[in-house]
Amino acid sequence: MDKWECLVCGYVYDPAVGDPDGDIPPGTPFEDLPDDWVCPNCGAEKDMFEKLE
């Protein structure tokens, strides 16, 4: 599964880890994150993330 990087602060969302503080269990692909999910590090919205190539 692809990792996605926050364009604002560099935080990397790793699907293998998920976002436990945000109620996102490990194994959740980025595409499955809710629309109102935000970067746990800086609060940037989902559309500020880019897939890491």
């Binding site: 602060c9 590090n41 609060g43 500020m48």
Partner: protein, 410 residues
């Protein structure tokens, strides 16, 4: 339709991508030698926590796949708004149908004596970070002029490199844009406990120094920085001086071409400048008197500019300023209105305890701003509630409770 972009930073790349996704052919010209990279990560390059290959964001293939032609190391020297043409440093002239100015900003260089001594730096580009890294190997004590975001991130980096560090801030408290007096005082205390010296109300008068740099650095002729002289007469010693005193919009091209320029290139809600078919976005743009200088604004403006350039009417309504950083492990978040004017329906709720400062700003009961220092619990839901302008008035002081259920309000 020829879409040309000047600048390949956040705004430039974001607009290029949006235009390309709509099927447009895009050309971007940048004087940078490197493809786009996120500047907030330069302090990690400085310490060696990341290496050059890791700081780039998109590979050259990424641009090719999307039909975005990026001309690196190519400075644009003149803009002719009548002929709809730009002139490059190598003499070539490029025609455009729609042009985006995304030239960004440059570090502000205070006009104080000694700025040209060896060992004095600004930090904006990869080249800067690598030069500072080399110099830091021989240095013992860093002085950072400016206690804003960049200065504090750099101070941490110098500490990691084993230098002693002093930060000089001319204001009454650190991070003057993001914090308030109480938050600033707590941050100074927390940073001080980590070993970084902070001098407030410190206006620099001159950079001091003579001497010759060691042979490992080329033995260049000229003064070698040895410290900073303050206006009040105090001398702060240092053999590496970083000037992080803010940025200025890179408006030269626009100004010489006769566009309306204030502090930045003035744009309307469609990101149009005063010249036909020329748009601006990012650090260089000024919207309703504001120059944001932050990435979220660059992204939002660039996306709106691209849509308008494609002929769709997309209104940009400003950006809620948002900053998050970690300084030597200290979480610091500042979103929205944090310096509310007197009266006008604003209310501040503040709490300071056990190394954590929290301030919530409400306007007519709606959440409009937050400062959270020393903790980042609930930053994400609070940030969303500010974006929504959520009415939180009925919770009043409970909002400050450690265990307040912010997620429950979404």
């Amino acid at each position: 339709m020829r879409f040309v972009i000047i600048g390949n930073g956040v705004a430039g790349v974001t607009a290029a991508r949006a235009l390309a996704e709509a099927g447009a052919e895009v050309e971007a010209y940048t004087q940078e030698a490197h493809h786009y990279y996120p500047r907030p990560r330069l302090h990690e390059l400085l310490t060696g926590e990341i290496e050059l290959e890791e700081i780039h964001f998109y590979s050259p293939v990424w641009y090719e796949e999307r039909g975005i032609a990026v001309h690196l190391g190519t400075e644009v020297v003149r803009l002719d708004t009548m002929a709809k043409r730009i002139a490059l440093a190598d003499g070539r002239e490029i025609l455009y149908d729609r042009l985006l100015l995304a030239t960004g900003s440059r570090p502000f260089i205070p006009s104080i004596e000694g700025m040209n001594k060896e060992g004095v730096f600004t930090l904006r580009t990869i080249e800067d970070a690598l030069a500072i890294r080399r110099w830091a190997k021989e240095a013992k004590r860093a002085v950072v002029v400016g206690g804003g975001l960049l200065g504090l991130e750099a101070a941490r980096a110098f500490m990691v490199l084993g230098l002693r560090v002093a930060v000089l801030e001319q204001g009454a408290y650190l991070l003057p844009r993001q914090l308030d007096a109480e938050g600033g005082a707590l941050l100074k205390e927390l940073i001080g406990a980590m070993g970084i010296e902070v001098v407030l109300e410190a206006s620099s008068q001159a950079i001091l120094g003579n001497g010759t740099p060691p042979p490992t650095l080329g033995g260049i002729e000229g003064g070698l920085a040895s410290g900073v002289l303050l206006q009040d007469g105090r001398r702060i010693e240092g053999d590496l001086i970083l000037v992080s005193a803010g940025v200025r919009c890179d408006v030269r091209l626009a100004q010489e071409a006769g566009l309306e320029v204030n502090r930045g290139v003035v744009v309307d809600e469609h990101l149009r400048t005063s010249a036909e078919d020329i748009y601006a976005a990012g650090d260089v743009a000024e919207f309703q008197g504001r120059v944001y200088g932050i990435i979220p604004a660059a992204i939002e403006q660039a996306r709106a500019a691209a849509r308008n350039m494609l002929g769709e009417e997309a209104a940009y309504q400003g950006t809620i300023p948002s900053n998050t950083l970690q300084v030597v492990g200290i979480d610091c978040t500042s979103i929205g209105v944090v310096h509310p004017p007197e009266g006008e329906g604003y209310q501040e709720l503040r709490k300071s305890e056990a190394g954590v400062y929290k301030k919530l700003v409400l306007k007519d009961g709606r959440l409009v701003g937050v400062i959270l220092l020393g903790d980042k619990k609930d930053v994400a839901p609070i940030s969303q509630l500010i974006r929504k302008g959520a009415d939180v008035s009925r919770y009043a002081e409970r909002l400050l409770d450690e265990d307040f259920d912010w997620k429950g309000l979404l």
